[in-house]
């Protein structure tokens, strides 16, 4: 059973629909006790870091999520979920994050005006360190992205995949039982669904 954490973060039902399609048992919950005891967690997200952190705190989900992380619960972060697991985000005037991985969510900055922000659309994901959640993918596989910030861990040890948009930036980060991707697995066609299947078996 996968528990999808509800903190008013947009793409919950898209993630749920993808899991249902794959026949993976799941539930949506905003109850910190359910999150603490969950077998597996998906931490999705669309929106801004500031309001996301505020809702997490108000619902007591920040502490519950950290507890689950320390207990060894497999956790998959998606999009904003890959940013607020870091120490901080540059969004909303340097928002403190959950600090599960040292690093910061960093805003794209380009001199080249042809590079638009947000980075929106399909882009190739290059695996830099093998990980069970990224199993069965092929070189050149593309995933769907919509974001203006990207997760930048302090150490390369925590980077599992990158993409290129003006420069090479991290798109999959992780530590221990936590793995998080900047792309939308639930909207990335068959390869995206594969990563959800992988997570369910991780």
């Amino acid at each position: 059973m996968i528990t999808i954490i509800d903190y008013k973060a947009g793409n919950l039902t898209s993630v749920q629909r993808a899991l249902n399609y794959l026949g993976i048992k799941n539930q949506i919950s905003k109850d910190p006790d359910v999150v603490r005891k969950a077998e597996r967690l998906i931490f999705p997200g669309v929106g801004a870091a500031g309001s996301a952190m505020k809702t997490l705190r108000e619902r007591g989900l920040d502490a519950a999520l950290k507890e689950a992380f320390e207990r060894g619960t497999p956790i998959l972060g998606i999009c904003l979920g890959s940013q607020i697991i870091l120490s901080m985000s540059e969004e909303d005037g340097n928002t403190p994050g959950l600090g599960m991985i040292s690093g910061r969510a960093t805003k794209f900055k380009f001199r080249d005006e042809s590079l638009k922000i947000p980075h929106m659309g399909w882009n190739e994901v290059r695996i830099s360190q093998p990980h069970p959640v990224l199993a069965h993918l092929n070189p050149g596989d593309e995933f769907y992205f919509v974001h203006s910030y990207y997760p930048q861990p302090e150490s390369d040890v925590n980077i599992f995949a990158t993409s290129e948009y003006g420069f090479e930036f991290p798109v999959a980060v992780g530590v221990d039982n936590l793995f998080a991707v900047q792309f939308h697995t639930e909207k990335s066609g068959p390869v995206g669904l594969q990563t959800l299947v992988n997570f369910a078996a991780w």
Partner: protein, 258 residues
């Protein structure tokens, strides 16, 4: 590197698929859910659904279509047509769409763009604009005018100015639909598309006139579009998504492999 997107639009009336030709005649050609799933499996990058249902009491049929699509199709899609309030937009997003697509209602009440952008984020707000080529005149310097009601009502607004305003109000993407080119299959309106792509810093989706893969190549290069909308060339089986993408790859355009 970001791929150029191939997007298809499905016009839906009373829950059934239709394709407009020059906005005058529409002819049912199938079930939108079946069609959407087929395109998804064939490697389409994104979908747009326009609800062209006339009577308001049948509007909820569209929500059923949206949720049926969301259960089986795992690429982004937007929904437009008849969205006048944030509440209308919210219902479509909750039913499973990633983005809402506003057109006439935003021309008549531009605050709809800022309200939707504040509520759902710019990434969820697509501004579609129907554009007619006209003689340049004061206030219409570019020679491109915004029209609504399927091209019947001219609004006296310069299309380039409207595109910039849409971006300022919080639209995350623009669909630029040329009324002149729509349904002709003679190619996209390259000048219009390029002028708008150069005037804004959000992605521009070219629409209207695509008849061959070469037309897509032209609008993705000379027209500076980030994505191209295809309709009848796919709907009538003249080309497959794979054929279009293979052609573009051969000509050096980066697209997601079908």
């Amino acid at each position: 590197m970001l791929s150029k997107r191939i997007i298809s639009c499905l016009d839906v009336r009373d829950g059934k698929l239709a394709k407009s030709v020059k906005f005058v005649d529409t002819k049912d050609i199938g079930d939108p859910v079946v069609q959407a799933k087929k395109y998804y499996e064939e490697g389409l990058d994104e979908l747009v659904f326009y609800d062209i249902t006339a009577s308001s009491d049948k509007r909820d049929i569209m929500l059923d279509v949206v949720s049926a699509v969301a259960e089986q199709v795992f690429i982004p899609f937007s929904v437009g047509g008849g969205l006048r309030t944030v509440e209308d937009c919210s219902r479509v997003l909750l039913a499973g769409a990633e983005k809402i697509n506003v057109n006439s209602a935003a021309v008549l009440r531009p605050e709809l763009i800022s309200e939707a952008s504040a509520a759902f984020g710019a990434q969820a707000v697509v501004l579609s604009m129907d554009v007619l080529r006209v003689a340049p005149a004061p206030g219409l310097e570019s020679g491109y005018e915004i029209v609504i009601e399927g091209g019947r009502r001219r609004m006296g607004i310069d299309a380039i100015e409207w595109a910039k305003r849409g971006e300022e109000l919080g639209a995350g993407e623009l669909v630029v639909n040329s009324i002149d080119a729509d349904g002709t299959k003679e190619g996209y309106e390259l000048t219009l598309t390029r002028l708008i792509a150069e005037a804004v810093s959000i992605p521009v989706i070219a629409s209207g006139g695509g008849g061959t893969p070469e037309h897509l190549y032209d609008v993705l290069t000379e027209g500076k579009a980030d994505a191209a909308l295809v309709a009848s060339m796919l709907h009538y089986g003249e080309y497959t998504i794979e054929e279009i993408k293979r052609y573009l790859v051969e000509r050096g355009i980066k697209v997601r492999s079908a």
